[in-house]
């Protein structure tokens, strides 16, 4: 029997991995097609190659003695060889697949003009420089929000109809506005008016040398973004959590436990939290992963130097930078796909019902 079970699970996991990978490939393909702007980005890249070749030829004293014709010939040859190396001589559909292959193998290449702080144009370097601030801010925000929601939600579900419960319901409409929007008001109040907290950014300028002071400075800059998200997303989260727990607390086995005289705390922990925790945790994981994409608008409002700001720069109207865009989305898609698969496998191990579905 156990071997049968394992086989079934492996089959299930295998199917999931294949379907998720297929989705991943198609999602990245779509991104590549959109980001390449119908081949226009390739044109820009080609123009850039041409420009660079002519620049080197005009600058190099070695070519100076040659006649115009000869220089043209040499330029033509150099341009051709470079386009061939980069793969720009291939027809459009083939080029798309070259881009796709590069994105899938996370061979992200070089950006078109965005540079890292050290001046490098390696997309990898640029992204890895911007990722930590985003992860720091949004993981903190989402964890704080999650725990507030969970505990207040649980608390309120026990006191349905009480004063705090009605207050929570009344506050829920606050969530009809996004976090960055509250950010504007918070900046006006705490930065412009009271001058208590910084307008934005991640550390004071110049950054303090002492690591403790540095950390405190970062913390100070995180207060407003965190606060804005708490105002925006905690009310609806508490409301949903409470409703969710309320529905579970009317289940028959919970009622039975209550009748048996099981204390409230134990009911909460064993009878409500335990069965509801898996979907809640899944949700948390997915939210955390997607938060690493950065919140473009929140980062813009608070001038937070994270991935969102980088993304905003990369899609800037004047000078778009498709390699960076593709890079960010590819990494994000990978993270998401991997976590979906991991969660599926974890569920399959924990929950026998899913394995049966896999068989079907």
């Amino acid at each position: 029997m156990p071997t049968n079970n394992v086989k079934m699970m492996l089959k299930y996991v295998g199917i999931r991995i294949i379907t998720v990978s297929l989705s991943l490939i198609i999602a990245i393909l779509l991104t590549v097609i959109i980001a390449n702007f119908g081949g226009k980005m390739d044109e820009i890249a080609r123009a850039e190659i041409e420009f660079n070749v002519w620049e080197t030829i005009n600058r190099d004293p070695y070519y100076r003695n040659l006649s115009n014709e000869q220089r043209k010939e040499i330029a033509r040859e150099m341009i051709e060889s470079i386009t061939r190396i980069v793969g720009l001589d291939k027809p459009y559909p083939v080029r798309i697949f070259i881009h796709l292959r590069n994105a899938l193998t996370l061979n992200l290449g070089r950006s078109m003009h965005i540079t890292s702080s050290s001046g490098s144009r390696q997309v990898w370097l640029i992204i890895s420089e911007r990722l930590p601030p985003t992860i720091l801010l949004f993981t903190t925000i989402n964890l704080i929000i999650f725990f507030i929601e969970l505990f207040i939600g649980l608390y309120l579900s026990r006191r349905y109809g009480s004063m705090p419960d009605r207050l929570a319901v009344a506050l829920a409409p606050l969530s009809s506005m996004p976090g960055w929007f509250y950010g504007i008001f918070l900046i006006i109040v705490f930065a412009s008016w009271l001058r208590l907290l910084p307008w934005g950014g991640m550390v004071d300028a110049p950054p303090p040398q002492d690591p403790v002071a540095y950390g405190l400075s970062v913390l100070k800059h995180m207060i407003l973004p965190i606060l804005s998200w708490i105002i925006a997303y905690v009310p609806i989260g508490v409301y949903n959590m409470r409703t969710f727990f309320l529905m579970f607390s009317t289940e028959e086995y919970v009622e039975y436990a209550k009748v048996r005289g099981v204390p409230g705390r134990i009911i909460e922990r064993r009878y409500i939290l335990r069965p509801t925790l898996p979907p809640i945790l899944t949700n948390l994981v997915l939210i955390l992963i997607s938060s690493w994409m950065g919140a473009i608008v929140t980062e813009k409002v608070f001038s937070w130097p994270g991935l969102g700001t980088l993304f905003y720069m990369a899609i800037g109207p004047v000078t778009p930078d498709p390699p960076v865009v593709i890079g960010i989305i590819a990494i994000y898609a990978y993270l998401l796909a991997i976590s979906v698969i991991v969660l599926d496998v974890a569920y399959a191990i924990v929950d026998p019902r899913i394995r049966i579905e896999g068989k079907r």
Binding site: T19, L22, L30, K300
Partner: protein, 468 residues
Amino acid sequence: MNITRKSIQILKTFIHYRSFVVGIIILIMFLALSIYAIIFYPYDHTVKIWNDIKTWEDYPKLAKPAWIKFFTRINELEGTIILDSRVHRFVKAKSSSGGWTYIILEKTFRYEYDVFPSQIVRWLYVNSSRPVYIKIEWIKPNGSVITVFEKVVERGEYYEDLSIESLDFVYTFCNYLKNRFGLEPNYILNGVIVLMSKEDESILDKDMVKLLKGVYKIVVRAETTDPNTDINIKLDIYGTLYGIVGTDENRRDLFIAIVWGAPIALSFGFVAAIVITFVQLFIAATSAWYGGVVDIVIQRVNEIFMIIPFLPIVIMISLFYNLSLWDLLVVVVALDIWGGRLKTLRAMFLQVKEMPYVEVAQAYGASGLRIVIRYMIPRVLPLIIPSIVLSIPDYVFLEAVLALMGIIDPRTISWGRVLEESFNAGALYKGYYHWILAPALMLVLVSIAFAFIGFTLDRVLNPKLKEM
């Protein structure tokens, strides 16, 4: 009869909820505002004047809303004092002697406000076949004369901002102060202060400068050899207050943008929320009803779109392909129908599919499409009406986000556009709060209205919550 009675009864239930009534009232207000906008500000015309610099020439820059004077109790100049010799009556004198023609233009105006004007600008219109010597004098109530212009000019139109720092008369005045008090002011003088302040020791300190109230006089003297010469002057003394909402950095009356934002926000939000919901319903019902390959394909496509991050892709598409707001709506619909909600709806339809009345319909020989549209969707629709209403603010804000990212056609007038412009002008840091708060409060009101209505609907219509 029965139906009307029933609907009255339903309405009565809703009226018990105060938040619902408040939501409805706000919504009606916005509908009225939209109708007002459509009638009084025809769109094409409004877009044209909104983006035309000439229209706003005589409006004060970054003026605050006029009603704040009831709270601050400070008497500030509202709008602009316009002195235009082509329009208003000036004291005009023209004489000639020895082949020379002399023209004098004079005008007085009263300035009794507590606050310095935000800006003083003059235009000079010279119509003469010969060079003209022109001298413009600004005479303050205390009698001191400041020569703001003295030059020989040809035919043409001359504009000068008299409020900046780098002007000849400002330097002259600074030297005058040095001679008189033996001290230089502890800040950099600008034209407005030179032209409008009391000339005692208070002018030396930035925080002490006092405004000189009273009757000001402007005198233009011209000398030329062409007897047909015509000289005109226009002087704008801009205030610090304007209208209900104030003005922006381009002197535009923000009231127009606030009014025009209403129909745009409402229609974008409504259309997006409703179209997306119906497409989702259709796809989910199709997926559930047909099952098999159809279901698998739809589920896989859904998974693909769940991996693609929504906002970045929308921004990228609209940027690269230069879409207008309404083209953008199509993209938003195409990308936003996917996601967790589609899965939830499919699960709901899977239950509906097993219901006896669907089976009966099938037995009668109803086609698949008919069952999906006439039997399955109507069953689920009432349950998701609250979530449709609740999702409208999301799309109103999506428009604002897209505008904030600078990707909506710059000619459009919307709250998001105003927000973006104020943001990019650094209104947050420079303290032009009215510029940010006006569109922001509109967004707050709209979302609060829909949230109130939506949550009430949820409480009344959601049977699961009613049971408890």
